[in-house]
């Protein structure tokens, strides 16, 4: 592997020989110091939205409440992402440590791991780990219990407020924000929802300190990141890489020599065509259209045998099925986009209709209720703009 494409072993690296040592250490420290370390580390959520983790914990810590919750988001529904499964299989103790530290900091007594339904096979081994974790909690004087909640297989339930509804036994529909979960989350109580990987990273900040953590990665995107590499690549798998790598380097390493595009961040991410590989860096604020490059960590490579029309059609099919269906722009917009590209392809509508559809994605982006509907524009516009000819013929 090339030098610049540094492979670090932060997330999946070995355990400390002494179980729950980092949690024990955190128990001795004032909450505000831990929060400050997290803020200084610049750690941002790994679930996609990229919110500063330290700040999220701080908000939840500030709200006075007897009841609070920590939720580990392991719904992992983004197509082409399978890194949370890897973490929970290989280093579950790190995840539980992260949850334990968060519980101590915000004052939560109860935690849930919201586990993707397809990962049911992990439940038994996770429960063993949870039992052991509970004995450590008791030893350390941390009044905290964790339970697994098995998801029902809807992609939208990974959205944090839909997830909360789902645990509450309601329909998995995203809620209005505000109120944010840190103020009114599960059962209306202050709640931190963090991605699996975020919790591990938070725990790593406690272990190596913010300065060391910051040394990894580029400005605005600190630490390392797990990437799920798939598609037309001889080396599909999970890679623990430092933030800030350029796509050109990435493709050199993982491509099959014929890569024409990389879909960064799954269906809700962006499609980068070959001509833009060299200008694109992976990380938050990576400069693509001036927007955050979503970092769910999915990297899907396409070679020239792929029709980008079919790629897009697949994504739209995914979205029109997986939208929760409650809001107008997303429920109907997704169907119109799919019907629209089909009509252009068959010549029922002129090629210019694509511009009408691009306008529609603009409406969806600014009016949809949650990130799902808002981010359909990402793949749609990046594919239609970069591969317009493939949409028409």
């Amino acid at each position: 592997m090339s030098d610049r494409l540094k492979r670090v072993d932060v997330i999946l690296g070995n355990y400390h020989p002494e179980k729950y040592k980092i949690l024990a250490g955190a128990m001795e420290r004032p909450n505000k110091d831990i929060i400050q370390d997290l803020i200084d580390s610049g750690l941002k959520g790994r679930g996609g939205a990229g919110f500063l983790t330290g700040l999220k914990w701080k908000f939840a810590a500030q709200v006075p409440s007897e009841e609070k919750y920590v939720i580990c988001n392991a719904d992992e529904g983004e197509p082409g992402t399978f890194k949370d499964r890897e973490i929970l299989t290989k280093v579950p103790r790190k995840v539980l440590s992260g949850m334990g530290i968060c519980a101590k900091v915000i004052g939560a007594k109860k935690g849930y791991i919201y586990l993707r339904g397809e990962y049911k096979f992990l439940v038994a081994q996770l429960n063993d780990q949870i039992d052991e974790f509970h004995t450590y909690c008791d030893k350390l004087g941390l009044d905290f219990r964790v339970e697994i909640f098995l998801g029902s297989g809807a992609y939208v339930c990974g959205e944090e407020t839909a997830l909360l509804n789902s645990i509450e036994g309601k329909r998995g529909e995203p809620r209005n924000k505000p109120p944010f979960p840190t103020n009114e989350g599960l059962f209306g109580k202050p709640t931190v929802v963090n991605n699996v990987e975020t919790l591990v990273s938070a725990m790593m900040v406690c272990k190596i300190g913010p300065d060391q953590f910051k040394k990894l990665g580029i400005q605005d995107s600190h630490g390392s990141k797990l990437f799920s590499v798939s598609g037309d690549t001889p080396r599909a798998g999970i890679y623990d890489l430092e933030f800030g790598l350029s796509l050109e380097e990435f493709v050199k390493e993982f491509g099959d020599g014929d890569t024409k595009a990389v879909q960064v961040g799954g269906a809700s991410g962006f499609c980068v065509p070959r001509k833009k590989f060299s200008q694109t860096t992976i990380g938050y604020k990576a400069g693509l259209d001036g927007d955050n490059l979503p970092t769910g960590g999915s990297m899907m490579l396409f070679n020239s045998s792929r029709s980008m029309y079919h790629v897009l059609e697949n994504y739209l099919e995914f979205f029109e099925e997986e939208s929760c269906g409650q809001c107008t722009p997303c429920r109907i917009g997704c169907q119109q986009l799919k019907k629209g590209i089909d009509a252009v392809k068959r010549g029922i509508r002129p090629p210019e209709y694509l511009d009408q559809l691009l306008k529609l994605t603009e409406t969806m982006k600014i009016t949809a209720k949650c990130g799902l509907g808002q981010s359909v524009a990402n793949s749609f516009s990046s594919i239609v703009e970069n591969f317009r000819e493939e949409m028409i013929y």
Binding site: T328, R331, K365
Partner: protein, 596 residues
């Protein structure tokens, strides 16, 4: 934390309480923001997105109904960005819609139509994505018609059925493109727990949920020489039908309504209030009988006794508390008493063959249609009521007949079953049955007027969800000595959410009451599922005021003083209240039902 929030909307300063939404703040300074999923009766959903506005510093537009004001916000409600987005959203809704306004029952009273016309939607932008399977209209229910092809998925009906009514007959099913409003297992409406209250109908912005219409049958009957078509009109219809015919909410148009109904061809226009008075006599006596059995004979009787004149409520208790049916009064509703008497007493008196009578009820209610078709409602030997029409249907009939309603001269109800008292008028508002019953029962027991100024029992009036009152009974007439010193405790609940609270107390054995009035619809019948749309608290209050004004203006305000009521007990129900005849014609029984 500051509790007053200051912000600007379209450059205008406004200060509001913390928690106020941007939509409400805008309303305060008379800026209207269009909405669709929002309804003031319901919790906020924020799903249609039609109400989006621009807020300085925000990446996206924000839904004004669902976003609380924050200090220093700068909101703009009418920028090109907002207008384009809004128009696009409406165009999307139209693309999913079976836009058939020319043949739609809700045309000119439809929120989607109004939005589409306001924004002049070009329906060529998007291709129709209407699903063929949604074109199947569910007409299985006697009361409610469900047309998925006209549904905008605002979930107002779902929120209504769960929040206001605690019934949960309709829910959201499936997700994504298949998301729709459905029932348990997608069963037809007549097979689920729906109580036919029609609250979903008056909260639906479009023609997706409507009452089943029967006015064509009635037109045919009116056109049939052989038939005598008589109609009885419920108290709450006269204070609401004006809204269909050019008046604002709260106009009392009793005399014009009677004239209009005569003009369009009803052979007799009679008053449901008459049988409301009769209900009071029967139900009041039933209550006293139960109290006597309990206190004197020490028999096991079901107390508290609960009113039974609201058919939505009756079906609710049949589904939800099938073991508690003994608490229901056995009295039929005024509509059904009317039906039974119209084909017996009235037929006899007027010399008409009962099979030639078509007995119609003008009701504020959707559940009355189901009630009219209950198999046991045939005690006259015929179907007691042939059709229950809603206020809206009657409004449509009057329009169809070309009647210039506002120019009509008032008429009186026809006689025989047309006289009524103030006590009957107030049946239309929550608390009214209770007040009417107390006016009569107290007088039966003590020989005196109820101890409230001008007979106005104010504790049971108003829109509070559950109201209570206690009346100390003293100086009884000898016959009622066993009640001496008893505090008669009563409660009034409206909206089935509140009925459930009352029933939970009864289940737990903690209910402190002797007598309870329950109306299925919030506000009582004036807010019924068959009333003009929109119905909201502002409108409810105005209709209620009109009801109490009618009562105050009536010369007779106690049911037992209604001369026609006295007469029927002398001439027809000769064995008196709860006697053999009244048992046969005026009382009924109930059916245990499933809970799903």
């Amino acid at each position: 934390m500051e509790n007053i929030i200051s912000l600007t909307i379209n450059g205008i300063d406004v200060s509001v309480d913390r928690g106020t939404s941007i939509l409400e703040a805008a309303k305060k300074i008379n800026i209207r923001i269009p909405t669709l999923c929002y309804h003031e009766d319901l919790c906020v959903a924020g799903n249609c997105r039609v109400c989006v506005v621009e807020a300085e510093g925000y990446r996206t537009l924000i839904a004004s109904c669902a976003t609380p004001c924050e200090q220093g916000m700068k909101i703009k409600t009418n920028t090109p960005k907002v207008r384009n987005a809004r128009r696009d959203l409406i165009a999307l809704l139209v693309s999913e819609h079976n836009t058939q306004c020319t043949t739609c029952y809700r045309s000119t009273n439809c929120e989607l139509q109004a939005l589409a016309s306001e924004y002049n939607i070009d329906n060529d932008i998007y291709m129709s994505i209407l699903k063929p399977e949604h074109l199947r209209i569910d007409k299985s229910s006697w009361s409610i018609e469900k047309d998925d092809s006209k549904c905008v998925r605002c979930q107002r009906c779902v929120r209504t059925c769960s929040e206001l009514q605690h019934v949960n007959a309709i829910t959201v099913a499936h997700k994504g493109k298949d998301m729709k409003i459905s029932t348990f297992m997608d069963l037809p409406m007549n097979e689920v727990v729906c109580v036919n209250c029609g609250q979903c109908v008056i909260h639906c912005p479009t023609g997706a949920l409507t009452e089943r219409r029967y006015y064509d049958d009635i037109w045919n009957a009116i056109g049939d020489e052989k038939k005598k078509v008589i109609i009885n009109t419920a108290p709450s219809v006269r204070v609401a039908i004006g809204e269909m015919l050019g008046y604002g909410p709260g106009a009392s148009v009793t005399g014009k309504m009677v004239s209009a109904l005569k003009q369009i061809g009803f052979n007799m226009v009679l008053d449901t209030n008459y049988t409301a008075d009769l209900t009071i006599i029967e139900e009041g006596n039933e209550l006293l009988m139960r109290l006597k059995k309990a206190l004197v004979n020490k028999e096991e009787v079901a107390l508290p006794m609960i009113t039974s004149c609201s058919p939505g409520w009756v079906k609710f208790i049949e589904h939800m508390y099938p073991d508690k049916l003994a608490h229901l009064s056995t009295c039929k509703s005024p509509q059904q008493m009317f039906g039974a008497l119209s084909k017996t007493y009235l037929a006899e008196k007027m010399g008409i063959e009962p099979e030639n009578i078509v007995s119609v009820a003008a009701m504020p209610c959707a559940a009355k249609k189901f009630e009219a078709n209950r198999p046991e409602m045939k005690s006259s030997g015929y179907q007691d009521i042939d059709a229950g029409l809603t206020t809206r249907e009657i409004g449509h009939m009057i329009k169809q007949a070309g009647v210039d309603f506002k120019e009509l001269i008032d008429s009186d109800f026809d006689s025989l079953m047309g006289d009524s008292t103030g006590a009957a008028v107030i049946f239309g508002a929550t608390g009214g049955v209770m007040e009417a019953a107390l006016r009569t029962a107290y007088e039966i027991i003590t020989g005196r007027d109820v101890p409230f100024e001008k007979l106005n029992i104010t504790p049971v009036r108003g829109l509070e969800g559950i109201k209570e009152a206690g009346i100390l009974i003293d100086n009884c007439l000898p016959e009622w000595n066993f009640l001496e010193g008893v505090e008669l405790k009563v409660a009034v609940a409206h909206g089935l959410k509140n009925a459930r609270i009352i029933m939970e107390q009864i289940e737990a054995g903690t209910s402190p009451y002797h007598f309870i009035e329950v109306m299925a619809c919030p506000g009582g019948c004036i807010g019924g599922g068959g009333q003009p749309i929109p119905t909201n608290d502002d409108v409810r209050k105005k209709r209620i005021k009109a009801i109490y004004d009618e009562d105050a203006g009536k010369p007779i305000r106690k049911s037992h003083e209604n001369p026609e009521i006295k007469k029927i007990y002398e001439e027809f129900l000769v064995d008196g209240p709860l006697g053999h005849m009244s048992h046969k014609l005026l009382h009924t029984h109930y059916t245990k039902r499933n809970r799903y």
